[in-house]
């Protein structure tokens, strides 16, 4: 029996509880947290896309980054580092979010959806595991985006500073920003509550190194289950919270902000799992790392915001299930453009995975394909 890491369990439980509370306070159902969706909402709020239903400056993102920043400074873990293939990370971040928005949720929302009874998240989880296993094969062969180097403190502080600026804009001149009047973007917890909760969660996630991809990856790679406890804790707390509040509804169809097109739920999350392994962490972990001074993760976050904007400018994101006028089910899913984008993501990830192997491994792959 492996020793339970209680810091991770407590952090996971806190994330789960925060998700339940944020939903009760007004966030969309099964969306207490969703890093991909919230970055997309921020992209919309600052005019990077014009999908009117998904525009809002989510204080949760600001709080997560600043919470991690404060905790890392307090524990002297803040280290300004950068230079580990930033352009590649930007592209990886973009496609990870395109995959997540095809499924309609990041790995964290996948766990939250599972706890709400959304069976599509089981399909997503299967895809996520497949993607992680693919990514791990490249890690085992020495895949690396090369090392980062110490940089000036200001470089490490870029994302916390950007988030602080966004918070100031939100509080001082909200008229500059766009806010949804209907749809998921219009549903949100009160600003202060969301900010404070996310600050606490960000600090705990930094301390516990919480990562949705890390749990399954480390279990496959090293038989190390530490991070998996956090994953399970989030699920259990959200499940209990939904059962208590009567929000648990098991099934595939008509789940909140979700579609039941199994193939593209699966493939979207394969892309997310694979890309997150190459990046060294899930979208939540990228926010936390950027908060503790990692400039490469800040670039990844900018890539994710850009990917989210592109997803909505080109109609790549998933459409939820709906009912037509005759009250018949219309299964949602993604457009043909969205399907092409996800498949393109696989090609891009395959190229990045092979090109960043040690030379002898790259030569071996080339020999096999000739």
């Amino acid at each position: 029996m492996k020793k339970v890491n209680w810091v991770v369990v407590i952090a996971g439980a806190a994330v789960g509880l925060a998700a339940v509370v944020l939903t009760a306070l007004g966030n969309p159902a099964n969306m207490g947290f969703c890093i991909a969706c919230f970055l997309r909402d921020i992209a919309g709020a600052v005019g990077m896309h014009s999908a009117a239903k998904v525009q809002y400056v989510r204080p949760e993102i600001i709080g997560l980054v600043l919470g991690a920043f404060i905790m890392s400074v307090a524990t002297k873990e803040f280290r300004a580092k950068a230079g580990s293939s930033p352009a590649t990370r930007f592209v990886l971040g973009g496609f990870v979010v395109i995959g997540a928005l095809a499924f309609l949720g990041c790995p964290l929302r996948m766990v939250i959806r599972l706890g709400g009874g959304d069976a599509n998240a089981l399909v997503g989880l299967l895809g996520f595991i497949i993607g992680i296993v693919i990514g791990v094969q490249f890690l085992k062969r020495g895949f690396s985006l090369k090392r980062a180097y110490e940089v000036r403190k200001a470089e490490g502080g870029v994302l916390p500073i950007v988030m602080t600026g966004l918070l100031i804009l939100l509080l001082a001149v909200p008229t500059l920003l766009k806010f949804s009047e209907e749809g998921p973007g219009s549903k949100h917890a009160p600003l202060l509550a969301a900010l404070v909760i996310a600050l606490i969660v960000g600090a705990l996630a930094q301390k516990a190194r919480l990562c949705m991809v890390g749990g399954i990856r480390d279990a496959v790679l090293f038989q190390d289950f530490k991070l998996l406890y956090g994953f399970v804790a989030i699920f259990l707390v959200v499940l209990v919270g939904n059962l208590v509040t009567g929000s648990f509804h098991f099934g595939f169809t008509m789940q909140p902000v979700a579609h039941s097109n199994h193939l593209w739920n699966l493939l979207g999350m394969v892309l997310v799992g694979w890309g997150s392994v190459l990046l060294g962490g899930c979208p939540l972990r990228q926010l936390i790392l950027a908060g503790e001074g990692n400039g490469d993760s800040a670039v990844t976050v900018f890539g994710m915001i850009s990917g989210a904007a592109l997803a909505h400018n080109f109609g790549l994101a998933g459409n939820p299930d709906s009912l037509n006028e005759a009250k018949e089910l219309v299964v949602g899913g993604i457009s043909n453009a969205g399907k092409v984008a996800v498949l393109l993501g696989f090609v891009v990830f395959a190229v990045i995975s092979v090109m960043n192997l040690p030379k002898e491994e790259t030569a071996a792959v080339a020999a096999k394909t000739h």
Binding site: E77, R79, K81, S84, L139, K140, G142, S144, R147, A148, Y149, E150, R209, G214, R217, D218, L221, F222, Q223, D224, K226, G280, G281, L289, N294
Partner: protein, 67 residues
Amino acid sequence: MVDARGYSCPTPVVMVQREVKKNSPAELEVLVDNQCSVENVTRYGSSCGYQVSVTPEGHDFHMTLKK
């Protein structure tokens, strides 16, 4: 010696794992530069039967894994 400074997790642990699987060293020196990697390499080393000691060196950490 595995110099994993500048790499973020899980790369330092993968580098240690590759070295352990390739050469099964009785003693292995590992350099990392962040606390997360110290924790992960310690857990991996312990699970492989190594005694792990850590010495801070400026911003870096010098780890020694001994059977």
